[in-house]
Amino acid sequence: MSPESPALGPRGADRSVALCGVPLRGPVLNGSGTFDAIAARRAFGDALLERFPFDLFVSKTITLEPREGNPPPRLWETPAGLLNSIGLPNKGLEGFLATDLPQLAELPVPLCVSVMGFTRDELAELVERVDARDEVSLIELNVSCPNVETGLIMGADPDETARAVERLRRLCTKPLVVKLTPNAVAPGAVAAAAEGAGADAVSLVNTLKGMALHPRTRQPWLGGGSGGLSGPAIRAVALEQVAAVAGSVSIPVIGMGGIASGGDAAEFMAAGAAVIAVGTESFRDPAAGRRIGDELAGLADHGSGKHRTEGRAPAPDRGQGSGAHADPPS
């Protein structure tokens, strides 16, 4: 892992930033679950490492036990978006640590491992075991799932989120990122609760809950029944939530949701994101992350990113877009 080596972009400009103290060669991450660097290396070979599209690699979310994922079909194309019901297929903690992590450590960028648990004990075990590995720089908690003990969706409820983070914070030496769910009334309140409980950063948005029907049978198309919406279709929603959250916390915000260009990335940073992540756009172009990073660096006005990383950048207009998460009176 040598985050410094390819730090100079095509223009030779220094794009390096730090996220929770972890130095990155630039501000572009992948969204968890939207890039499998191991599979991509099978398709693209070592050229992938030489021209690696991201500055920090986030693993697909892993769970304690292995999961097959949801039955197919898992994908549905929407206007300017994608609905998926992948269902978190993964090798489970043991399989991940034994098989995947050593391969991911070969990537030229630092690593963040995304974890999800269905009980607080599961989460604790995941975080402790991942934290023990040197290959890992950050840990991301994906809390977009129901807590099977309380029935509440962890990430939709400020108290539930705070309780989970509080315990994990003590178990873990690495920076802890909490990935918020957008399917909440007040993401800013959840983010503030996470910060209060010791989270080092928050990331958002995850996918919006959505559904599609089979064009002929009118039964749910997706094997999982409903799914999560991503892509440009949700960009305006994501940008609003990023601004609202950035206005509510002083830890760094990792912004994502439909980012497809350097201009989009600059907008998320203007809304208060310290760094940004690219998800669905990578499906259209595996090099999207690199292109977006280059475009962003080429924009004069996006702010260097540097001064934004160890604290919150100001939200564009506190009184208007970023305060209470009330509905627009349209």
Partner: protein
């Protein structure tokens, strides 16, 4: 089976459409892919989109690129390859690609996936295609002829207009159509059974609609003939990123785009997979 996988450049690039012409019910697009490898393996595929105005139809789709087997590849003098794609207009993506004219940009990522492997031992190659599933068999047929093999080609189509794709093959083709308007009426499994029961030991290479693939798989299993089946599945990325294109196998789900599209028949309980062409 050794893996037939030519690596792809890790980015989307633009090729130039050289020609687009009708072949019966299909469209054959030829594009100059100067930035890609000269030697994709038969059975591999590319993710395609138009370079401009992709999307924005009445349904605001397509948004994502679409997967297409290359039908033929000819190395270009300056590097890269001229690629042929055979397209069937079944929805907004294939429709839009069919509107491309010479000189227009075609965006692509590829070649992707694992293609067809060599035949086991000295078994004779038997190529079985249904409809647009003919496409990846074309380059396989070319390659087998080049190495001196004498592939048997058995193709089935919906109608005579679709069957015009047969003209693309050098070898004689055993043709059947659903409506009997060209070749013999009926399914490809009948001539295939005759060939497997009556001829020398074979390896079957098949591509086509799920019911046909499943019939071929079951027949090969019954006859203990190795089969390499090129599967289809709805895809978002084509390079293993989204975990969206899975199909069930005896060992669990596999991703068609990186673990396939060519899969040994013995790995499948059924080739009638959800997420394939039977979903529409």
């Amino acid at each position: 089976m050794t893996e037939a996988r030519t690596l792809a450049p890790p980015e989307r690039r633009l090729a130039e459409v050289l020609e687009s012409r009708r072949v019966g019910a299909y469209t054959l697009i030829t594009a100059a892919d100067a930035g890609g490898p000269a030697d994709p393996r038969p059975g591999q595929f590319y993710m395609l989109a138009t370079g401009a105005q992709w999307g924005g139809g009445s349904t605001e789709r397509p948004y994502l690129p679409r997967a297409f087997s290359f039908a033929r590849a000819r190395p270009r003098p300056g590097g890269g390859a001229d690629l042929d794609f055979l397209l069937e207009d079944v929805g907004p993506g294939t429709h839009r690609l069919g509107l491309l004219g010479a000189g227009e940009p075609l965006a692509l990522v590829g070649p992707l996936g694992a293609g067809f492997g060599p035949a086991a031992g000295d078994r004779q190659p038997v190529l079985v295609g249904g409809g647009i599933g003919t496409a990846p068999l074309l380059c396989l047929h070319d390659e087998l002829i080049e190495v001196g093999a004498a592939p048997t080609v058995i193709l089935g189509f919906r109608s005579g207009a679709h069957a015009e794709a047969v003209a693309l093959f050098e070898r004689e083709v055993t043709l059947s159509t659903d409506d009997g308007s060209a070749g013999r009426p009926g399914l490809v499994t009948e001539p295939l059974r005759e060939r497997l029961e009556g001829g020398p030991p074979a390896t079957v290479y098949a591509c086509g609609p799920p019911p046909m693939l499943e019939a071929v798989r079951a027949l090969c299993a019954e006859q203990a003939v190795p089969a390499q089946l090129a599967l289809e599945s709805g895809m978002a990325c084509g390079f293993g990123a989204c975990f969206g294109c899975v199909v069930p196998t005896r060992e669990g789900y596999i991703r068609v785009c990186v673990d396939g599209p060519v899969v040994e028949g013995a790995r499948l309980r059924s080739a009638l997979v959800a997420g394939g062409g039977d979903q529409g």
